[in-house]
């Protein structure tokens, strides 16, 4: 059975939401296969484009059939050429999508308490995750953080999807002034959460992992590394991850991720925008070597 589709999607809606754009695309076949934490890779620039590489976005929501056939939703921050092109799309414009990609958030087998932490547009996949968790009887608390109020995504939706919501902003323009890691210990303690799900910048994922570990919870984090293909064939998106056998390997975050157990990621390798190959990685360069 096919677990991924490639379709020429049609834009249904493109709405501005704070600092982001919320894009809805008709993409038949995706919803049936997708689970929260997976992502979509979209081609950008149209037929004359100089930008060859697809752009990846967390699936915010999917719906198997609506007025227009199956749709998917993504939340996009306009940054470089590709995201500017995508956020400039109008209804009826076409966009080629490949989805769903990557491994979804693993779901607990027991109805445990959970905390879902999103940084900026990183909250996009969490509302759908929250619904799925609550269907399984899990308690869901959400913590949404961002630099400023306009960079928070989904505060209203959070109140609907979660049993409790905590907001932080770096500048204090909404919620508690500070970082998600400042409030997270209290939320975990209060709810007795067994799993903390995180999506957002790498630095945030690292501190979520640290806080979760310190409080006896498991962190499941969705990472973001530059991806050339999104489907596992190029090896650009790798990061050092420790496997069940205790060995570290450079694994592809597009197919073995984007969701990893936080304590399996070799956070020590990430620094200043670079991720080094830890010396104990399988096949790491030897002195004098490659």
């Amino acid at each position: 059975m096919r677990d991924v589709v490639q379709v020429r999607g049609e834009v249904v809606a493109n709405r501005r939401v704070g600092a982001y754009h919320h894009l809805t695309v008709v993409a038949p076949g995706v919803a049936e296969l997708a689970r929260p934490g997976q992502f979509v890779a979209m081609a950008v620039g149209g037929p004359t484009s100089a930008n060859l590489l697809r752009r990846s976005f967390s699936l915010h929501r999917v719906s198997p059939s609506g007025a227009y056939g199956g749709t998917l939703d993504v939340v996009i921050a306009a940054k470089g050429e590709g995201t500017q092109w995508l956020t400039g799309l109008r209804p009826h414009d076409e966009v080629d999508v490949v989805a769903p990609l990557g491994r979804p958030f693993p779901l607990p087998t027991e109805p445990v308490a959970t905390v879902l932490v999103g940084g900026g547009y990183g909250s996009a996949p969490l509302f759908w995750l929250a619904e799925v968790l609550r269907e399984r009887g899990c308690r869901v608390e959400m913590v949404l953080g961002a630099a400023s109020e306009d960079r928070l995504f989904g505060v209203v939706e959070a109140r609907r999807s979660a049993d409790g919501v905590t907001i932080t902003t770096d500048d204090g323009s909404a919620g508690t002034k500070g970082w998600v890691s400042d409030v997270l210990p209290e939320v975990i303690t209060r709810t007795g959460a067994a799993v903390v799900y995180g999506c957002g910048p790498m630095g945030m994922l690292r501190s979520i992992t640290e806080v979760a570990s310190a409080h006896g919870a498991v962190a499941q984090v969705a990472v973001e590394e530059s991806m050339a293909c999104g489907v596992g064939v190029c090896m650009t998106c790798v990061m050092p991850v420790t496997g069940n056998d205790g060995l570290t390997r450079m694994v592809r975050s597009c197919v073995e991720g984007p969701v990893f157990r936080g304590d399996r990621l070799r956070w020590d390798a990430f620094d200043d925008g670079v991720c080094r190959v830890p010396a104990d990685t399988v096949g790491a360069p030897r002195p004098g070597g490659h």
């Binding site: 991924v4 930008n51 060859l52 530059s226 489907v231 190029c234 090896m235 790798v238 991720c275 096949g283």
Partner: protein
């Protein structure tokens, strides 16, 4: 349906379209998008003797109509490759071209030896010798930048393979005279040539004001470089036609995104083509290129064999 059959020396393939090494992993991922046996052959990621972690990240930078990569030949090593990847490719009935490399000429031979002695060697239709990689023994100079090193590697690999195994030496375009390197590889016994590997490039991150790739330099690929690939093929095919070097089949690679792009490389002299970076844009690209090439040949009432090198015959006499 045009007749797409192609001959590469003694090897006959049902169609000329292949994946490019390093742009299709070892097959499982693309098999989700199309049946790999639809291709003329599947080319594996270059494999070396031992497992390799590859380089730090960032490993990629998008460029105008192309990209830079610095993967650093990450791979599982030949033993795991044979048992897991080649065995799987064999099981689905793919025709496989195995790309091999080494830090030294001896390592190339070691990899070839292991390959030839594995049961799944049965599915291997050819070996691609990726000499566009650094030679540790020669100050890291790329083997294919030097005719001597190129011929040493090709010669040693040949000794390890069953006689008659088709081999293709993969050349870098970053040389003053690609015909000289092609000549050296053919003299040393290569069945044919694969052209071209990536061009050496650098992108500067203008926010951090430092190279965007952790490894500083990377390989430039994609449609941006297609005119360089066509030129390299043209020059080498031209030298063959003029009898300056031995005649041998050429596999063209570099910037193919559509069937017409493939036709450019074929008309310049390639008997088969590989689709690399375009696969990142469209995971179905290799099969789509095959179908588009088929239609383009049909529209021109040509078979694949007619089209190989046709631009040399049709070139304007000034």
């Amino acid at each position: 349906m045009a007749d797409l059959t192609t001959r590469l020396g003694a090897l006959t393939l049902p169609n000329p379209v292949m994946t490019a090494s390093g742009c299709a992993a070892n097959g499982r991922e693309l098999h989700r998008f199309f049946d790999l046996t639809d291709l003329g052959a599947f080319v594996t990621k270059t494999v070396m003797a031992d497992p390799r972690s590859g380089r730090p990240t960032p490993r990629m930078a998008e460029t105008s109509s192309g990209m830079l990569n610095s993967i650093g030949l990450q791979g599982p090593g030949i033993a795991a490759f044979l048992d897991k990847d080649l065995t799987w490719l064999h099981s689905i009935g793919a025709r496989v071209v195995v790309s091999i490399a080494g830090n030294t000429a001896a390592e190339f031979a070691e990899v070839a030896r292991a390959l030839a002695s594995h049961p799944s060697f049965a599915c291997v239709v050819a070996v691609e010798i990726n000499i566009s990689c650094p030679n540790v023994a020669n100050r890291g100079l790329v083997f294919a930048c030097d005719p001597m090193s190129s011929s040493t590697v090709v010669g040693l690999v040949h000794q390890e393979l069953p006689p008659g195994t088709p081999t293709f030496a993969k050349l870098t375009p970053d040389v003053t005279d690609i015909v000289a390197i092609a000549d050296a590889a053919l003299q040393a016994g290569a069945t044919g040539l694969t052209m071209i590997n990536t061009l050496l490039g650098i992108v500067i991150d203008t926010d951090r004001l430092r190279p965007q790739l952790a490894g500083i330099t990377g390989g430039l690929s994609g449609p941006a470089i297609r005119p360089v690939a066509v030129r390299a093929i043209w020059q080498v095919a031209g030298a063959m036609r003029e009898g300056r070097i031995d005649t041998a089949p050429i596999i063209g690679v570099g910037g193919i995104r559509t069937g017409l792009d493939a036709l450019e490389l074929i008309a310049a002299g390639a008997s088969a083509v590989q689709v690399g970076t375009a696969t990142f844009n469209d995971p179905s690209a290799p099969r789509r290129v095959r179908d588009e090439l088929d239609a383009a040949l049909d529209a021109r009432a040509l078979t694949l064999a007619d089209a190989v090198g046709i631009a040399h015959r049709r070139k304007v006499q000034l």
